[in-house]
Subunit: 333 residues, 4 copies
């Protein structure tokens, strides 16, 4: 049984159905009816006028957002364990033409206004030092922690005060949102966020993510950058269809809830072993090498995060009955 | 009836079926069984050891190939009407970090050793002038002309003599191949081609193209560049599945033949109006503004290529009976 | 006797004297008194508020200007024989992160609103085609022709109408100006120019050029880019000193006049052999290979520009008596 | 009296004399006799075949070296206080097209094989993480500490073992060398260094540094990159002349010795206040805000490095009698 990551799970049936339904001729690129409906659809969801672009990967969404907020000679402040720093192969530097990532600290890969300020306050305001242009946070974080609206807003206030753009990597935005039980608006633009990488792939999509701009003018140059990066699909309707299929009937929330509930089930079994509170669909556990081996011997697959620490991720399609045996096994360690 | 382009046609049923069949858990990125089978499968097809990478768009395939063959301070020789120059929004410059495109001439967007040499022979061999590093041709060309193996080989010989890399943009490689009735090997590496953008999307795929390296070592750094460009899908198996489904049972050849036959049907109707011989699935016709309007009035949709000239493109799924009315209408002009 | 180029001539005595005079301690980079005086000094000269930055080479000046006026996904329209296209090794692409150069035509490397429009009018306004962001002209041109204020203004009007930035490469700005006998203001910002590469090196300087922004806000990000390109000298005062020494007492005009007069002397000797009118310090002559060999045999050194054509350039320090023998030899051919 | 930095000191008389002596016509760029003599002259100095290029700034030297050793998708390991990370405005990212700097630790800005390994050993060997391509150290370090040949060699061995390029930022190479009393060869290529930024400007030059490649083939593409960065001066002989003038009669060693001796004089006065041993021409002292104010009140100018810490730098031209008063003042604190 695989608890390795949610990034390789199967695609939810609504998406498959939507791809089949979209399989007729329409205009190329993003000129088709489905793509053209995205702005309105996401504007409804976010209760404000947004620009919504499909992109195929979370890395692409993140890096187009950063390129919209940061000049090549500027910098992005992020956590030293942020995905954009650790796992995107230098894509932020590629898309921004060499902007720096300034690495800040914080428990559970979570930034605060204080840790951000601590990283940038010492930067001299001269041309020799790279100046910050934007802040990027991940919600839920790389450790499955959710920033609440008030926490986002505190960082948003700092961004505004310092004249910095504010990006949220929401690869697991849905998981954070259902945990917080707040509105998408409260978690984003009302808290000062300028651009959101709104993840669908980890949550049951195939290969479509949404890049949302809460400052609509940021989309203008991004449309050129998306094409220039080889990301403008000629049959874009098959990406739009995925996003729409998951918004319809709140499939995206249903899927995220299922994954979070599975994680909660494991969290209850884990007790003191938990490294972090479980607020999304990721569970980080203390487990010795022997214990990890024992779990693997029982057929459970997962990631060795650090010495004495393992990571278990629940996907949208893992039913409770398939998770319970792992919960039992953890209890029995 | 749409004859505007083949880039927005529906997806062929084998691809849809393959996506559904692939819809179970497997390893992420390109670690799944389908992705791992690509090298062998394309090596069989090309009768030599190749490295085959899925990428989502033709622009991505072209630009990763160019980045593998050209340093940032170098240049790529291509036709002044090449897709990489005209329709990729500067993606070659983005991926190569600013290499120049050197524009050569030729009827029907076709290069020859002579026109290439004419473009580069005047370049002084000093550090002030950008030196050519690679040649890129499109087969079939932007005007639907096929380079025969002997024509490719002549350019390949020049590339070798000058120490230049050699890329083929094969967005309509299948259409060229079925017209020429030669082997994939003869049209590529045996003629000196180093890298091929092997198009599937215009030929019935959804969002997967193959990037083929005939010098396998070129793939090594490309794997990093693919990720760095945000092009490494976490659920890569849905791209591999498309390519494999179209290789199986020669669906790719069947689709290309169908499109070419439709174009041939129009070509016979067009007679003297043809601007170029029809060797793939594109038909360029002389037609006055009034004639174009008449055709549109009959419900046919197409591209106004130039004053007095229209472009008709046949897709894999356009049956002869849907094309005949257009053929009649052209005859009746 | 060398007529090869003005780019390697000796440095005028005022510059040498200024370097010696500057040889005391002052603040580093551009914080010294000399550097800080540049804005005011050039604002006086141009009769408007400008920002003036020293840079070491004309290529650096040109490319920083282009980077200020063009986004990476945009393009610069220039003549196909422009120095930025032909002789800067791809530096414009490096500094702009891959913007394209769109090549327009014109006799004597001179653009007009018509030839510029002819190059860009066919560009579709969509994300697939690289959109023009700026125009760059060279004054005097690569063939030694001067754009008069009215000609510059016509291009400036087009730039304004199309929303394009406007850059002037003035490697030989002084030579054009003394020929036209107009004010620096009339030849630049009053005619719509946004940024000027103001050449001093070819005119008797050692290694300092001035980059002038007539829209002062363009200088802000340029200060970062100058440092980021490794162009911010710690002992910047030795660059500022050169510029100031040549403005003092109108040394720059004196030097340019001397060079132009030498060229005029040759032009009178050349008669029908002239390929272009001589409006600066360059003389392009029809001369067969035998004639060129004969001149070389007499000890004159020059550039074989094209088959049957030679280029003679007069430097600021070539006295009439050293030029007359060449004039005689040309007459005697 | 200024102890702020050595980067703004006056130029030594031999350099001024050489500029005057070079003030005759010669071939442009690096085709002149002086520039062409550099390879041989530096090869003599380093007792091996090297390629030696003039460049105008230390940032340019560093970044051209890094670009020769690192691909855009790779990384450079350096100290978190290295000049390339802290004070070059993102120039390394500009020149390498976005390679990452991986920041390692160490007292006095000094790396060791252990701290380097600690930074890179955790990097997974996959395409998601940026892989190290090169190591860069500064000798003398940003805190004025000298790496001895044996220390450099230990890092060189690690570089070789891991297949990494090895760059030395020698902005104060001369100061380190005279302290260590070893040969230039022992401190560089014999210890595994591939490329050296050999500083002359801080040591009495005007605006010329030497970029030395101990693997000569690395120079080939660098010549293109130097031009592409706008760094190829048309009157390059005035840069070559500076380097040669300082090699002649070991002026570079004389100047460095003078600066080091001044620093040693202060070090003896400082006693327990020293933060680091003084091995070059920089002195870091513990000094309270009150003490710093007192020194400033006496007319001494310096850099407030950190709370409770000041930096004093001695330039080549500061005579002992001008330093003694500061030494007295420090003693008297």
């Amino acid at each position: 049984m695989r608890f390795f990551s949610d990034n390789a799970a199967a695609v939810c049936p609504e998406v498959i159905a939507a791809l089949t339904a979209a399989n007729t001729l329409d205009t190329a690129y993003d000129g088709d009816a489905l793509s053209r409906s995205l702005d309105a659809r996401f504007s409804d969801l976010f209760e404000t006028d947004v620009r919504a672009l499909w992109v195929p990967t979370g890395t692409a969404a993140n890096c187009l957002a950063l390129a919209a907020l940061t000049q090549p000679h500027g910098a992005v402040v992020c956590h030293h364990e942020a995905h954009i720093q650790q796992d995107e192969a230098g894509a932020p530097e590629f898309y921004t033409h060499g902007a720096k990532l300034l690495l800040a600290d914080g428990e559970g890969a979570k930034l605060t206004p204080q840790t951000i300020a601590a990283r940038i306050d010492g930067i001299r305001d001269d041309v020799h030092q790279v100046q910050p242009h934007a802040i990027s946070i991940t919600n839920a974080t790389e450790y499955g922690l959710a920033y609440a609206p008030v926490e986002v807003a505190a960082i948003g206030a700092l961004a505004k005060e310092r004249g910095l753009g504010f990006h949220m990597d929401g690869a697991r935005f849905a998981n954070a949102l259902v945990h917080l039980n707040c509105s998408p608006a409260d978690l984003t633009w009302r808290a000062g966020v300028d651009a959101l990488s709104f993840g669908f792939v980890k949550n049951g999509g195939m290969n479509a993510e949404a890049l949302i701009f809460f400052r609509p003018e940021l989309a203008d140059a991004t449309l050129y950058r998306r094409k220039r990066a080889g990301l403008l699909f000629s049959k874009g309707r098959y990406l739009a269809a995925q996003l729409l299929a998951m918004l319809d009937g709140d499939v995206w929330l249903r899927n995220a809830r299922a994954a979070n509930e599975g994680a909660a089930l494991l969290a209850r079994a884990a007790g003191d072993r938990l490294v972090y509170p479980v607020e999304a669909n990721e569970v980080f556990l203390k487990a010795s090498a022997e214990e990890a081996a024992k779990l693997r011997g029982l057929g459970f697959d997962f990631y060795d995060w650090a010495p004495g620490e393992i990571r278990l991720v629940i996907s949208w399609d893992q039913a409770a009955e398939t998770i319970r045996p792992l919960a039992e096994a953890i209890r029995a360690l």
